[in-house]
Every structure is written in structure tokens, then in C-alpha cells.
Symmetry: C2
Subunit: 361 residues, 2 copies
């Protein structure tokens, strides 16, 4: 038994004693230094963003992988010096329950697989980080939350922006009413996706602009206002109907909040755009880009520059989440946050389908 395993075992006993849990979850007793992360799904985001970011994290590290591709398994194992025992495929994934090297399972699969792998990870007693959009429906999101709760593991959604300092600054403007109450938000996120047969072009797999990119503008309206939308008016449009026959290429949606704040939002897989404009009672503030992987910057009507740069957003996000688990504090973006977005996404889809304003219950 390695020294790490010994420590984990001690922690397990302590945590189980505190939480009355079957398996070690929140390490509120002695501190484990770093959590072992297993990435599930080794596509572009895991390969180009998360794995490199996990080389810079202080509170967690890349401990394992889950992939259906033997070729990828071999390549990653070699590149990141992963022990054979920490490499899983989708069939033997559930055995991860017995692997004390893995503390967190990060689900980086297409959205239609999020629920299944989150529930399986929770049942394996692992904390779960799940990419956005959280899942395909409110019902799936609720099942994920329930599974994590009943298995006493935490659940974080992989929105990055709440961990980004300029975004945190504008969130604080809203909370403190630095510029008075928020009145109007204009926000857009999109990129040109030239692919024709990717899951991002299939709604049944969680594709389409609204699922893929639209949750960012939506999430932004919620963290900027600190409120939940009460109504939505939306339409979907496409200039490439041969590709976007099922999923939405572009969605425009208007949101209404209890305070009277309004939002004009746009998202697209057919054009590149990335800005967040906030009109408040006593001024404005903006970020542009507001959601890209780097270079988030902006300014305010008082001439304040919002230009704090951090080395790596994903590193910050995963370190925040890992530290939260290590310290036993709630995640910054828990599953409930992801669910709230999907509730609005469902209303947006309904509004676009029915061609009318939908009041959100």
C-alpha cells in the first residue's frame, strides 16, 4: 500500500465517522493534499484544455482516464504516466469504486451521456464534476442531483466563468448594487462550427447552439442579476437548414426577471460572437469576450478596467472545486445551478416551438 493510499484510508475513516457515509466523501478531517481526477471522455476539451490545465493545478491532479478508445488509452497513459489500474473503459468504469486514487470523476462526454455517467460515478462513491450543459432535461438533472446526494458525493457543473476574476467582479457589482440594480443585459456567445455530422449538430445528443453555447449567455444573465428568469420569448433560425435540420444553429431569446430586469440573448453555431453588456440604473459594465478560454476583459461606465488575467481558467476552476471538496465547503456551481439553466432551456425550446412567450413556473 502506497503512502497515498494509507492517508486516504485514514481520511476515509475520519470522513465516514463524520458523515456516517458508506464511503469517504468530504475530507473534513485531516487534509488530503491533492485529489485524483479521472477524466471521462477524451475529446478535444479533455485533450486540449483539461489535461494541460491539470498539470498546473495545486489541489488536484490527473489520476486516471475513462475512454472507449484503446489507442487513446495507450497514448494518454504514456503521456501522463498513468498507472494501468487507473485506465478504464466504459464497460469496466464502475470498478472505479474500488480505486482510492480516484476522488473525482469529471464527465466530459456529450450531454446525452451526462446523466448516466454522473449517476454511475456517484454510485461508485466518487465526487462528480460534469461539463455544461448539465443534461438533456430537468428530469435528468434532478436524477443526477439525487444520485449524488444519496451517495453523499458532491456535484459541480463545469461552468468556468464563476471562477474567473473579471466575471467575479461583475457578479459582485450585481450583489452590491455598485451601479444600482441591473436593468438590461445584452449577451451573445457563438462560434462558427463548420462540421456537418458531429454530435453538436444533433439535438438528441445534446447538440445545437442553445445546449452547447446558449447556456453561457443564459447562465450569465442569472449570475449578473442573481435572479431566476420568470418568462422567455425565443426563436430558432438557421441559414444552413441542410445541416441544422434537427438542432438549432442560432437561437435568440429574451428573458424577464422578477425585478423587471430584461435580457436580449443570442447564441449560434453559425457565427462568432462573445460579449456581455450590462445596463444598470447608474451606469453600465461589460465584458468582451465574456466567455472565451482566455482574455476575458471589459470596462465600466466609471472608467474601471476589468482586465485581470489568470494563467488558466480550467486550472482555476478545478482548483476551486478540489479545494472545496478538501475543505468540505459547497461547490461554487453545484448541480442545482446546472438544473436551473436547463429549466430555462426547456422553456426556450418550448417558446421557439410554440412561437409564444412562455412563463416559467
Amino acid at each position: 500500500m502506497t503512502k497515498r493510499r494509507t492517508i486516504l484510508k485514514h481520511l476515509a475513516v475520519g470522513a465516514a465517522a463524520v458523515a456516517g457515509a458508506r464511503l469517504p466523501k468530504f475530507y473534513t478531517g485531516r487534509k488530503k493534499e491533492r485529489l485524483g481526477i479521472a477524466l471521462v471522455g477524451l475529446g478535444y476539451y479533455s485533450t486540449d484544455l483539461l489535461a494541460p490545465a491539470l498539470q498546473l493545478t495545486r489541489h488536484c491532479y490527473l489520476a486516471g482516464i475513462v475512454t472507449g478508445s484503446p489507442e487513446k488509452a495507450e497514448r494518454w497513459q504514456k503521456q501522463y504516466k498513468l498507472p494501468e489500474r487507473n485506465v478504464y473503459d466504459y464497460d469496466n468504469f464502475d470498478r472505479i469504486a474500488d480505486n482510492p486514487d480516484i476522488d473525482v470523476v469529471y464527465v466530459v462526454l456529450p450531454p446525452f451521456m451526462h446523466k448516466e455517467y454522473t449517476v454511475r460515478a456517484a454510485r461508485a462513491g466518487k465526487h462528480v464534476w460534469c461539463e455544461k450543459p448539465m443534461a438533456m432535461s430537468v428530469a435528468e438533472c434532478q436524477a443526477m442531483i439525487d444520485a449524488c446526494r444519496s451517495n453523499k458525493v458532491s456535484l459541480s457543473i463545469g461552468y468556468r466563468m464563476q471562477h474567473e476574476p473579471n466575471t467575479q467582479e461583475i457578479i459582485s457589482f450585481g450583489k452590491n448594487k455598485t451601479y444600482g440594480g441591473v436593468k438590461m443585459i445584452s449577451v451573445a456567445a457563438g462560434y462558427f462550427d463548420g462540421r456537418k455530422d458531429h454530435w453538436k449538430q444533433k439535438r438528441s445528443m445534446g447538440g445545437g447552439a442553445m445546449f452547447d453555447m446558449g447556456v453561457y449567455p443564459l447562465n450569465a444573465t442569472r449570475y449578473v442579476t442573481g435572479e431566476e428568469p420568470i418568462a422567455v420569448l425565443a426563436q430558432e433560425r438557421t441559414t444552413r437548414p441542410e445541416i441544422y435540420s434537427e438542432a438549432d444553429e442560432t437561437t435568440l431569446f429574451q428573458l424577464e426577471f422578477p425585478s423587471g430586469a430584461l435580457a436580449n440573448c443570442a447564441t449560434s453555431l453559425g457565427m462568432s460572437m462573445n460579449y456581455l453588456y450590462v445596463t444598470a440604473e447608474k451606469g453600465w459594465y461589460k465584458l468582451e469576450p465574456f466567455q472565451s478560454y482566455s482574455g476575458i476583459q471589459g470596462s465600466t461606465s466609471r472608467g474601471i478596467m476589468l482586465d485581470r488575467e489568470i494563467p488558466n481558467q480550467q486550472t482555476r476552476q478545478m482548483d476551486d472545486d478540489a479545494l472545496g471538496i478538501l475543505q468540505g465547503t459547497p461547490p461554487m456551481v453545484p448541480g442545482e445551478e446546472g438544473l436551473r439553466d436547463i429549466r430555462v432551456v426547456e422553456a426556450i425550446h418550448r417558446s421557439a416551438t410554440e412561437g409564444k412567450r412562455i412563463v416559467i413556473d
Copy 2:
């Protein structure tokens, strides 16, 4: 007969010979140096913007006024050294037909009066400049256009932005596809109006955000794309229902263009906002503010600054329009332009009332 009058008379003969007109209209023969302008309606905009601007114009000058207030008449007459014969009230206004000092009647009244005074001015044989919004309905706009046409006078709508150099630059981007085709526009114009019983709070007088400010974002989407909207989805909202029971405090509207370009627009009398964001195929460009009386500025994704400052927008607008008349060229923003906006405003009102997307015929 003054020298000016003699010149006018000569011009009249020349123009009549060319155009076969009853009265002098387009001075395509010998050039008159400056046109005499009569302002109709001496509210804030005439007082604080147009009259001062007319002190700086090269091709026109403040020659007369039309007002229902004897007190204002006296004050203006004194301040601007206006001859008694060039001061009218609303009853004797039609006698302006006999006044060769007045070449152009500028209608600066609340919108519900635009049609009447435009038609009366046209019948008096005067060119007409009319403030935005052009009128209350497409039918009124058409009547104004018809009256000017049948009386062989020109009709300009007082949108300023087509005369503003940074705006002209972004219009040229669209025409030349400098950044590729326009894909998406996000545009908003509004201010906080604290008044409770002004005509701007009465839709029947041409008030409400859409009529008062909303035509700017709308007009911008049309000059940016160079296209006419084919469909609109809109809603009206208010946070002050006790004031905005009849007119709209805030209107959000989405527009769709034949090319597939889309627009998210907002206008309000409840908040201050002023920006125009254009997403194109190969980059973006923006103006912020895009519609204020001064300080129009912006930038593009290629790092080009749009920051040409002119001394006075209203001066530029009136000089452009006066020069057009003097040179016999068509107005930059003719009545037809104003009508096209009102056609969309009607669709926006209908969409907001019926709660659904309206296809514009």
C-alpha cells in the same frame, strides 16, 4: 425687394422651367447660396439643438419659426433677429406659402402632428424636413410622401446618423462587405425619462419607447444590413405600469432579414443604453454610443478606431439636406426611409400585442 428675394425669384423661374412646377422647388438652375429654414414646434429639440446648429450651417439658416406660444415667438424673434413676417402661429401657418424667405419647413412637433404639418407645408410649396418617427402609421407616411410628390417638394426625415461619419463608415462596411456579410446585430437605445404626463408617455400622441427611441435601433439594423426586415418577434414590458399604461416603456424586438442576418434590439424610456454591435462573417464592428448627439465612437475587430468627431451632428444633417436641395440631388434619408421604419414599427406593435412572430409583407 431685397437682393435675396430677387435671387429667389430668378431661381424660381429657372426651377419652374426645368420641373414644370407651380412653385420653385429644386434649384437646379443658378445656385441660391443658403436656404431659409422655418422650425415648426419650439420644444427642447428645436431650442437646444436645432436653433444653435442653424447658427453653424453653411447651406441654410434659421429664417423663421412656427409656434403656438406668443411668449416663445417674442423670445426667439429677439434672440435670432427674425423679421416679424417670418413668425407664424398654427392658424396662419399656411400663409407661409407666400413667404419667399422660407424654403424649408422643419416639422419638430410630436409625431401625431407630423402628417398634418408635412402635408400643409408641402401644399405651401415648401420642402419638408420631418423629425423621426416619421408618423403614426404607414398610411400617414404614404400621405406625406404623396403630398410632397404632388407638390414637387422634397421630403427628408430627421434621422441624424446617416450624416455622421463613423456611422457612414460602418454603413460602408456593410455595402462593401469589408468584414463579410452581416450576420447579427445587437443594438439598444434608451434613456431614463422621469416625466409622467408628457406626450412621450402617450402612444396616441406618438409616445412610447418604440416610437421615440426604438426607431434608431430599427433604422440602424436597416442601414447596417442594407436590407428590409422580413419578420419580427417583439414584446413590451414595463416596471412603471402606473406611467406606461398606454405607451411602451421598454420594447425588445428581434428582426430577421432576407440574407439570414438577425438582430436583437432593445429600446426603453426606463434606462440609459446606447450601443450598436455588428457581428459579421469575418469580424465585428461596433459603435458606442451609436446614436447620441455627440461622441459617436467605436472600433472593429481589425483594431480600427471609429472616432471621427464632427462639431455638430444637426449642423451636418441640415447642411447635407440643404445642399441636396440646392444641387437637386435626392435626400439622403427620404420619406420612403421613414415609411419603411414605420412599417416595421407597426409589425412590432402587432407582434407585441398578439404575442407571436409577425411576417412583414
